[in-house]
């Protein structure tokens, strides 16, 4: 490990290419913490938004008029506003209002928690629409067959429609989730110590913005490449034989 750090130190002194995260322990800590928080934000908001997507799709399919209108309003609000503004609203506006309403001395949610809430709600709106397209693609004949077999609407949704809709909407879902992972960098604006924040701390101290930008681009390309490969594996494993390209 010493030789690796020595190599990068020499790279800096001889060629002026400063990758300080490899030889400076303070910068390395900042960067590792950044990777941890990016992973945390991504995982939490991916699962949260998937859950919201399923609930929303079900309510649109089987809910009453009120539920459908509520889901529709939710989608309008969170799809039509920029994610950074949503984040600022939650952290700087809604958070303090709730804190003073409940009379607590400390904020009810930390900035990491608000970031997860905001990202989940943002991506949930997109996921509901993606699942809706999957639900609508299930042939009416199949649904009628399920109905004639005596399955209730809820059973139909959980056992017939959702599995098929999920497989159909996987490509669109993949797109949304990749977008979500990249949107986690917005949390830098409310000082969540994720990758972009860690990198910016390093480059404002070491003045190596170019090198850190290159590192960030490579890291994000690798992370998202890994994610899409994983989703591709899931897609292949879940494919219904004879449906689509399987």
């Amino acid at each position: 490990m010493e030789t690796v750090s020595e190599l990068f130190r020499t790279l800096n002194t001889t060629y002026g290419f400063d990758l300080s995260i490899f030889y400076d322990s303070y910068d390395a800590d900042l960067f590792t913490r950044g990777m941890y928080f990016t992973a945390l934000l991504s995982a939490a908001s991916v699962f949260g938004s998937l859950f919201l997507g399923v609930i929303g799709a079900y309510l649109q399919f089987n809910g009453g008029v009120v539920a459908r209108k509520f889901v529709s309003a939710y989608i309008q609000v969170f799809r039509n506003t920029p994610p950074l503004i949503q984040l600022y609203f939650f952290f700087f506006s809604l958070g303090p209002s709730l804190t003073s309403a409940t009379g607590m001395s400390e904020p009810i949610l930390s900035n990491v928690a608000w970031a997860i809430v905001s990202l989940t709600l943002y991506a949930g709106a997109f996921n509901i629409e993606v699942f809706r397209s999957g639900v609508e693609a299930v042939p009416a004949a199949t649904i009628e067959a399920a109905d004639s077999l005596g399955l209730s609407k809820r059973q139909t949704f959980l056992q017939i429609i959702l599995p098929l809709a999920f497989r159909i909407s996987l490509p669109g879902l993949n797109n949304n989730l990749v977008n979500l992972i990249k949107t986690t960098t917005n949390a830098y604006a409310i000082a969540v110590p994720e990758l972009l924040y860690g990198a910016s701390q390093v480059w404002s101290d070491k003045l190596n913005a170019l090198e850190m930008m290159i590192v960030l681009l490579i890291v994000y390309t690798a992370v998202i490449g890994l994610f899409t490969w994983m989703m591709g594996c899931i897609e292949r494993n879940l494919a219904v034989p004879g449906w689509g390209r399987a």
């Binding site: 700087f92 409310i190 000082a191 404002s204 101290d205 003045l207």
Partner: protein, 274 residues
């Protein structure tokens, strides 16, 4: 005959030009465009901030105006933040930076400081009165808001181990401080002093109990290549003249800053050096 004569004249001009100080690309651009672009802060009262009409005012915009007047060009103020000011200067988006820039060796390698320096500041902490912070060591493990890009962030974190929560600009950090996301705000002592004096009721629950640390001079900066050129020379002359004539001292008084020993020292030195 005509050809060789023109050639000789051209050669003569080039050699004579070479005796004068190195040609300045930036100065040529400024003179040709008739405007100088100066990077200033917009969230750091009283050095650079916004008035209710949304215009940038402050001690540093005034200094920029004086520079433009002396060069005989128009002034264009470009808002910068601690996190991007150095990059803006390196990329040539601004010709001059007057943005509360502290001096350190790391920065000397990438930009050209104009000496003499024009001001000096130190690290200070604005903290809630009920947080019980009596010494610098007490901030260990506590949440402290800061601004991204400040040179003392790393130093303070390594010395005292707080949990630093750094925001892109002063406004976000102050908002977070007021809404309780952190107990204190790490910034320059002049900013805290001006905040407390400009808006005493808003900051009634806060105080600055700790001694000011790591006193650091502030410098005007130009691009590193311009340091040895006519442009750099002219800037150096301007700053020396400011100290000598007491312009900076009068600016300090005008913007209600606490009178500093630094400026008085610098004026004495400038007068003696004449």
């Amino acid at each position: 005959m005509k050809k060789s004569f023109t050639f000789l004249v051209a050669l003569a001009i080039l050699t004579i030009g070479g005796y004068a100080h190195a040609q300045s690309v930036v100065l040529d651009r400024i003179k040709k465009a008739g405007t100088i672009r100066v990077g200033v802060k917009t969230d750091f009262p009283p050095f650079g901030f916004l008035n209710p009409a949304g215009q940038v005012i402050g001690l540093e915009p005034d200094m920029a105006q004086d520079v433009a007047k002396r060069l005989g060009v128009k002034l264009e103020l470009v808002p910068v933040q601690s996190s991007n000011r150095i990059e803006f200067l390196q990329q040539g988006r601004i010709d001059l930076m007057i943005a509360t820039l502290g001096v350190n060796d790391q920065r000397r390698k990438v930009l050209g400081y104009i000496e003499p320096f024009y001001y000096a500041g130190g690290t200070s902490l604005l903290v809630r009165k009920d947080a019980g912070i009596k010494r610098w060591e007490d901030i260990k493990g506590r949440d402290i808001c800061a601004t991204q890009g400040a040179s003392y962030n790393r130093l303070t974190t390594q010395k005292y181990g707080p949990n630093l929560v750094a925001f892109p600009g002063n406004t976000e950090a102050l908002n977070a401080l007021l809404t309780g996301s952190c107990i204190g705000f790490l910034q320059d002592s002049t900013l805290h002093a001006s905040m407390l004096s400009m808006d005493a009721s808003k900051w009634a629950a806060f105080e600055t109990p700790l001694p000011v640390e790591d006193f650091q001079p502030w410098g005007i900066a130009v691009a590193l290549d311009e340091l040895g050129t006519a442009y750099g020379d002219q800037m150096r002359q301007i700053v020396t003249e400011w100290h000598r004539s007491g312009y900076l001292l009068s600016m300090e008084k005008q913007w209600a800053l606490k009178p500093s020993e630094f400026l008085k020292d610098m004026q004495a030195r400038a007068i003696k050096a004449r």
